[in-house]
């Protein structure tokens, strides 16, 4: 019996597709192959590390993706990688999957984890990764009937998948109507944050003002995956999953005071809005972009709005306008092979800005994709 671990090569593609089909029981073309080159080949990076594959008796039995990213810590930009697409043939991989993770945690200067199954988190933690409570999910219900339909759809998709397709919005119109007064109070529908004067405008792309905003954002959050123009263009304009709405709060001088990237995804017959990014120059502008984003979500008619991660200040503002903790908290893990000063910052949850734009936590297709 022979085993081998080596970097992924393009010729491994057919074997990897087979593994993907076996693990997920679905066609890899739609969910996996479409984003492969974009995700692993074109993400802005200081350094690429290559994915790892493990073979047993010549057969590919495990894979670990290493999505290159740039982590800004204080005034430094560090090469890093999110560990993603952890696939293993449980019948044949033995402990090779564990070895892929172990090797990555030792050889990467900075390894990151965002999301993933609970068992994945356990593996990473035992092998030395530190997980932090910064992937908090906040939710605000906008239309209770649609929210009930979404909940029913999700429940049935887990318990009785064939029945999930039968969920219809109209079934929940009446119970939803009874919940409207309660939801209006609980989720503070009428509450708006006080702000100065900004012009809220949708943008077609990310111009050089976003580089300036990125610098300002780093003052608020000393640790983050770099949100400069090249990252934003790659993540939101070139992504196979788009489209996204880019919303900007512009001051009287035409400067970008804050910006958000918003998405809208389907949950069966319902729709869910999501803050993909929430970047700001100062807290007044943060309030303005939150107000503007909520208005945009209302205009879309989404049933609920989610915010995952973001900065501590953004989460505090969102709570003021009725967002409440809901859903599972995403794991965010760090394994740094760096100086103790930098590690100290990276292991402090309050220093971080993260969002669904990080890693491959949220690559689901948006409505209109």
């Amino acid at each position: 019996m022979s085993t081998r671990i080596r970097p992924y090569e393009p010729s491994d593609r057919p074997e990897l597709d087979r593994l993907y089909s076996e693990v997920f029981g679905r066609d890899p073309q739609r969910h996996f192959v479409r984003r492969w080159d974009w995700e692993f080949g074109r993400s802005p990076a200081v350094e690429r590390f290559g994915n790892l594959v493990a073979f047993r008796d010549g057969q590919l039995v495990a894979h670990l993706g290493r999505l290159a990213t740039r982590v800004a810590v204080k005034d430094q930009i560090l090469p890093a990688a999110f560990l993603t697409d952890f696939l293993a043939d449980t019948d044949r991989s033995g402990i090779l999957a564990l070895r892929l993770v172990n090797r990555s945690l030792r050889e990467l200067p900075l390894a990151l984890l965002f999301g993933g199954a609970p068992v994945t988190k356990e593996i990473y933690e035992r092998l030395g990764m530190r997980t932090m409570p910064i992937g908090e999910t906040l939710v605000r219900v906008e239309r209770p009937g649609g929210m009930l339909a979404a909940a029913a759809y999700r429940f049935l998709r887990r318990r009785a998948p064939p029945l999930a397709g039968l969920v219809r919005r109209w079934i929940f119109v009446l119970p939803g109507a009874f919940l409207v007064p309660l939801a209006a109070i609980r989720y503070r529908w009428k509450k708006k944050l006080k702000t100065g004067d900004y012009k809220l405008v949708p943008l077609d792309g990310f111009d050089e003002r976003f580089d300036t905003l990125c610098v300002a954002m780093r003052q608020h959050c000393p640790a983050s995956c770099l949100r400069d123009r090249s990252f934003l263009e790659w993540r939101y304009l070139e992504a196979p999953a788009g489209p996204y709405l880019i919303l900007a709060a512009v001051d009287a001088d035409g400067q970008l005071a804050a910006a958000s990237v918003l998405s809208r995804v389907a949950i069966g017959p319902s729709s869910c809005g999501k803050f993909m990014e929430c970047l700001y120059r100062d807290e007044d502008a943060l309030s303005a972009i939150i107000n503007g984003s909520i208005s945009a979500f209302k205009h879309w008619g989404v049933d609920l709005v989610l915010a995952i991660g973001l900065s501590r200040a953004a989460r505090a503002r969102l709570r003021e306008v009725g967002f409440r903790r809901g859903g599972p908290q995403r794991s965010f893990g760090v394994k740094a092979n760096l100086s103790s000063e930098l590690e100290g910052i990276l292991l402090d949850p309050d220093q971080w800005y993260i969002s669904p734009g990080d890693g491959d936590e949220d690559l689901e297709e948006t409505i209109g994709a």
Binding site: A88, T90, G94, I95, L98, I123, R126, L127
Partner: protein, 97 residues
Amino acid sequence: MDRIRGAARRAGGFVTSAELARLAAIVSAVLGIPEAESASASADDVCSWDSIAHLNLVMAVEQEFGVRFAAEDITELDSVFRIREALERGVKQLETP
């Protein structure tokens, strides 16, 4: 393979026959194989010895023997022989909370 953190070592430094029996019982329980076969078991030969089972086994051994294997060495403990070697060499006493 195993790292010794701190000065603490297991008394004697060698695994006794009673401890070997305890190890065999753990391996048998975690991997679902007969105790008699556990001494020669390795991740390459036992189908049920996958990544999750490996972590369960490592944690069970740690709990039973009051030791803590260094994170970077866990994947090297890929056979009962190697686990026994690690125990014999002495590993860090499990810190009690």
